[in-house]
């Protein structure tokens, strides 16, 4: 298992999870702090002070410009972070075309759909596989394959692997002229009780 093949297993939700966790922590911390102040943990005098504190209001009036710049800064940071987060999590996972050569005058790119169709056709001829779905993930320079195989009930996983690596992936590696192609395989065990009939093209 290499880092790249492992990363190809599924789209990462790491960014979303980190941001969600941080937001949750901030909200919880603010709420706990407000409740503690109200409960008089920081002194019973502070608990009785008004929410809109006269000292803070006085400071804001005295330093009018500074207050406005601070508010602008907070607003801008929230706006930029929120917009970046929204766009980032709405962006679909890229389907890279693979560039085989970047030499000027000899640039050669293979389209995503062409590769995936070829690998899918190959994979569906494996004994014990009823259906295959293939896509490329990563960048054009560092692509990785994601294959999901539906297996017929009772088929041996090791036989399927042997054929997948020995024939299907070997051909893909040969086509890309690379020695190693990071691949994530997702198996659906016992997905159907009988092989599906050959696809009619």
């Amino acid at each position: 298992m290499s880092r790249r093949s492992r990363a190809a297993v599924a789209r990462s939700a790491g960014g979303d999870r980190t941001l969600t966790t941080v937001l949750g922590l901030v909200l919880v911390a603010a709420a706990v702090l407000a409740l503690l102040v109200g409960a008089g943990v920081f002194g019973s005098f502070r608990a009785q002070r008004p929410l809109i504190d006269p000292i803070a209001v006085q400071w804001a009036t005295d330093h009018n410009d500074a207050t406005r710049w601070i508010a602008l800064g907070i607003g801008l940071v929230l706006f930029v972070v929120g917009l970046w987060w929204t766009l980032r999590s709405l962006r679909p996972e890229p389907r890279p075309d693979v560039s085989l050569s970047e030499v000027p005058g000899e640039r050669l790119t293979v389209e995503h759909a062409a590769i995936c169709d070829a690998v899918r056709h190959d994979a569906e001829t494996i004994e014990g596989v009823s259906r295959a779905r293939v896509r490329l993930v990563g960048t054009p320079m560092r692509p990785a394959l994601r294959i999901s195989l539906s297996m017929v009930e009772g088929s041996d996983v090791r036989d399927v692997w042997a054929e997948l690596d020995g024939r299907v992936l070997a051909r893909a590696r040969e086509a890309f002229s690379v020695s190693a192609l990071p691949t994530a395989v997702r198996l659906e065990l016992d997905a159907s009780s009988a092989p599906t009939p050959a696809r009619v093209e």
Binding site: T20, A31, R68, L72, A180, R186
Partner: protein
Amino acid sequence: MRLLLRVLAPLLGLVLTVVGLAIVVETVTLWVAPASSPLVVPWPAWQAAAEGLTWQSGAVRGTAIVVGVVGLFVLVLGLVARRHDVYLADPVPEVTVTTSPRSLARAVGHEVRSHSDVVSASVVASAKKITVKASTLDPAEAVRDDVRARVDEMLARLPLARRPRVSVSVTTTQGVK
């Protein structure tokens, strides 16, 4: 949970964007054209409503509790939305093989139900543990050993990266044989 995160993450981002934009717009309005302030958000009204509230007020505490509960939900969502893939041993270094807990449970379920003495069975699987509950018309003891042997044999054929613990419970049900 992952689906919920997928839906909620862009929405939370959007909320942050809107709040940030509102702060910027209101601040700039107050600065440049104080006469037309407030532009969109009625913040002077909110300020008037908060006037006279202390940190001990019920409204402040209630709001803090609501914010805390929402924050806790968001926090837990971020923490638990991880993947539950079951990893298989790698056939070659550059290949990672996984399967879903559901598909593993389905495979084990087929194996258990193929036993002629098992009337019905339910299986829950994860990468660490497989729980089989089966019912039979025969004495439970013998069937349990048979079922366990079958599941073990099946797992031996399946090259999982780590062998999950297997717990089998068999109950005898009444019925016509």
